[in-house]
Amino acid sequence: MGLNFNSAGIVKGFFGGNAYLAIVFLLFICLFLFKSGIGFIPAYKNELSNARKAGLEVSNMIDYELKGYYAISAKLNQAFTSEKRERFGEKEILKYVYEEFEGLLDDELEDNIDGYLDIDEDTTEKAEAKTTLLAEIDSACRGLGEKFLLSKVTPRIPSTTSISDDTIDSAIEYAQQYALNDYETPEEIDQILTDIADQMGALGVINKDLKKSSAGLEKLHKTVETSARKTYDILKNNYKLRNSIQKLKEGLVKQSGKLDNLTDSEKIATQETLISEIQTKIDEAKSKIVEVDTEEAIIPIYAALEGHPAIIEKLRAVVPKNIEKLKDIDFISPEAKEYAAAIEELLPQYLEILDEQETSISNWTHETKVSYFAAIKAFFFGLDWKTGSNRQSLYGLIPLLSGSLLISLVAMCFAVPLAIGTAIYVNQFASKREAGILKPAIEFIQAIPSVVLGLFGILVVGGLLKDWSASPLLSWLPGFPINDRLNVLLAGILLAFMASPTIFTLAEDALNNVPKAFKEASLAMGATRLQTSLKVILPAALSGIIAAIMLGFGRVIGETMVVLLVAGNKAKIPNFSEGIAVLGQPVHTMTGIIAQEYGEASPGSTIYQSLFMVGLVLFTISLIINTICQRILARQQR
């Protein structure tokens, strides 16, 4: 190099400097993401270790046991409801009809009722008003018509074909009572369901018994949770206070240092007041720190946990016994039967959960230290992403990663055949003129901004997809009709449309790069054009096509606006056990979470750092994909 300061050197240096900026930017992004994200690990480690010290961790385990139980009890509830409606539906109709009337009174007749209620008691005026009001209610309620009422009842009790006049009459009576009693729903109405439940016989008993069986565990959970929460909140608060004291102290040192340089007495005075202000802030913060002896605070939790094995033992006996009893019940409703069968399937899973959790709870101690490795593992393999929580925030990547991957996979399933097929067609079969139109047209698609596609998805495609999925032709597919309008399939289709041009362009290049001799040789052997394309040229261009697919994948997984708008943003691992129905589920994505939660994050907070960690993961994925593609392409060129 040398210190050659002639103009040519300067010019060259200038250009070169700009060229090296590319490396600088890449390294800078890398470093910056890393620097901002790395703080996450100690911060998360601290949170996890607080949760362990306070006993929140064990509370989570009990909660998990409860969740398993709730899954069963929810199913049983549904079986119970279906059966109840099948048997005593007629009685329930009254309740539903009444509710419609009550709604009508609230919406339409509120002024009239208020007018009546405002009149003084025991006047003739009141009595007159009462008669008119009752008549008004009567006519308004009858005005709804049987057809309308049926439309409200049939979704719940499908077998209903008509509503008897008696039902309507008594519903109106109750509605009148409601109005007269200052909008107080008559007790009889609330009583209807309990009455029916009492008449449900064996199923009712099972339902009741099962509900009661969880009481012990729920109580235990509550004891542990309250106790743990109290300690955890204090620990969390102390951590924050210590941080702010740290900051204040830094400020104090700086400000005191300045004092030495000042000569003006007035300035010294203001400086001194400032210093004292900071000092009071520090003292204030210090006074807020509540020292808590975790060893002592954990004692009640251990005490409560001693009862845990017994509770579980009981559950293990009671739940299967009750489910066993379900088999003896003659269900009238086919849905109830299905639910009952589903419960039987759930049972072994539930017992497994109990076994697992019981061992981990009995092995649990608050004393084991949380290692950095555990924090890293909790991030990369965590199953929950729960930020802004009232209790413990969880940053687990798996729900986001699986959502991103699933959407990308679905998108690739659509995009790859389309784009590769198009590339073969345009490259091998289309006439020169046709190709001349098709190629720019497809490249043109690439320029559609993603936010436009997202809005289009919300406005048009989402609705179309939901309507199509409801068509009887598709009803044999599990999960159809799709329940949620925003889901994996919608996001996948839109992204497939985005990725197709990228894949097409690169794949077409790859096909173009296959030496002409291959084609000529194949044709000379008597192969048809299609055989040549599919069996000779395609394999020859395979590495390039794979690179094209990977780059398309990279583009899809990094896409933000479309998934933010149409993926449904449900931070839960998609339920793959449902087979193809998984496509109808909403998911959350890595890109979506950054766009959605950056507002919550002030620099330096754990959530800020966690978002940078997610960014880092995305960055790494894109780097890996790019590097592999370049390797492939470089080899191909050789």
Partner: protein, 279 residues
């Protein structure tokens, strides 16, 4: 690099000086509930008499209010929840004081699709739906269909106040779909027969969805005292407001015209709200 956070002293004076400047711009950041209806309308009214003033509004959730107030990139933070202790601590640590102004009263309305026959829920049922304990409408007296629950995202204040008021402080279940703002929740609920969501009172009227009674109370101004999901909406400033900010806040919280607008938008003016809540 150790010189992080240059000193409280400077920060204190910065906070005072920044608001004291006769600025021609007020920057609003924060709550979607306030920032998409009430504040734009107040702004439209206010700039009629203050033509030179520029008012910028970016509603993306209450979380934005505090992070932006702290970094000085907002003059007024809109929030649909009271400031959290740890946010307050951050301001304390920075030597800033946060001043609260009640903007209006709101009742979080729970909405379901028009075709959904369910008309009322108890608070407990509502909580169980959003924690994920109840997964089917038949469990709360509806049709036999899975529930799709729509919530705001975690930087929203409504997200937090709902979990406090409606779910007894429990966490949202992982089945909730987090949407971007009140209006998107309205849209999705109106398109999904099995959907349920919650929105600010000003957003509770629209096509194809209806509000649900909670504990036999519908979200109406007359029920403010008994409706379990009533809450205040706030403006926050760093230090006592001065200059333009002060003038605007005075207008927004006390002027009669502002109360009219608040009511027209669908919220309850703060004075009337405090009175009926006291009953």
């Amino acid at each position: 690099m150790k010189l992080k956070s240059i000193t409280t002293a400077l920060a204190v004076s910065a906070a005072i000086a920044a608001t004291a400047l006769g600025q021609s711009k007020i920057i609003f950041k924060g709550s979607d509930t306030l920032g998409n209806k009430l504040v734009p309308q107040l702004k439209a009214e206010y700039i009629k008499t203050n033509k030179d003033l520029d008012i910028e509004i970016t509603p993306q959730g209450s979380g934005h209010a505090f992070s932006n107030l702290l970094s000085g990139s907002a003059d007024i933070g809109m929030s649909s929840r009271a400031v959290k202790q740890d946010e307050k601590d951050q301001f304390d640590a920075a030597g800033k004081s946060l001043v609260e102004h009640v903007a209006a009263w709101d009742m979080i309305a729970v909405i379901v699709n028009e075709e959904n026959p369910v008309k009322k829920l108890t608070l407990e049922q509502l909580g169980d739906i959003f924690t994920g304990k109840i997964k089917n409408w038949s469990e709360v007296g509806g049709a036999d269909a899975p529930i799709s629950s729509y919530t705001r995202n975690s930087s929203s204040g409504t997200y937090k106040s709902f979990s406090k008021l409606g779910m007894a402080g429990e966490d949202y279940g992982s089945d909730c779909q987090k949407l971007e703002g009140n209006q998107q929740i309205c849209t999705e609920v109106s398109k999904n027969v099995n959907g349920i969501g919650y929105v600010g009172l000003a957003y509770s009227k629209g096509d194809n969805f209806k509000t649900v009674k909670i504990n036999n109370n519908s979200p109406k101004i007359s029920k403010l005292a008994t409706y379990p999901l009533a809450r205040r909406l706030y403006y926050y400033t760093v230090g006592e407001p001065t200059g333009q900010v002060k003038a605007f806040l005075e207008f927004a919280t006390t002027a009669e015209k502002a109360d009219e607008i608040t009511e027209a938008v669908g919220f309850i003016p703060s004075k009337a709200g405090e009175q009926s809540a006291a009953k």
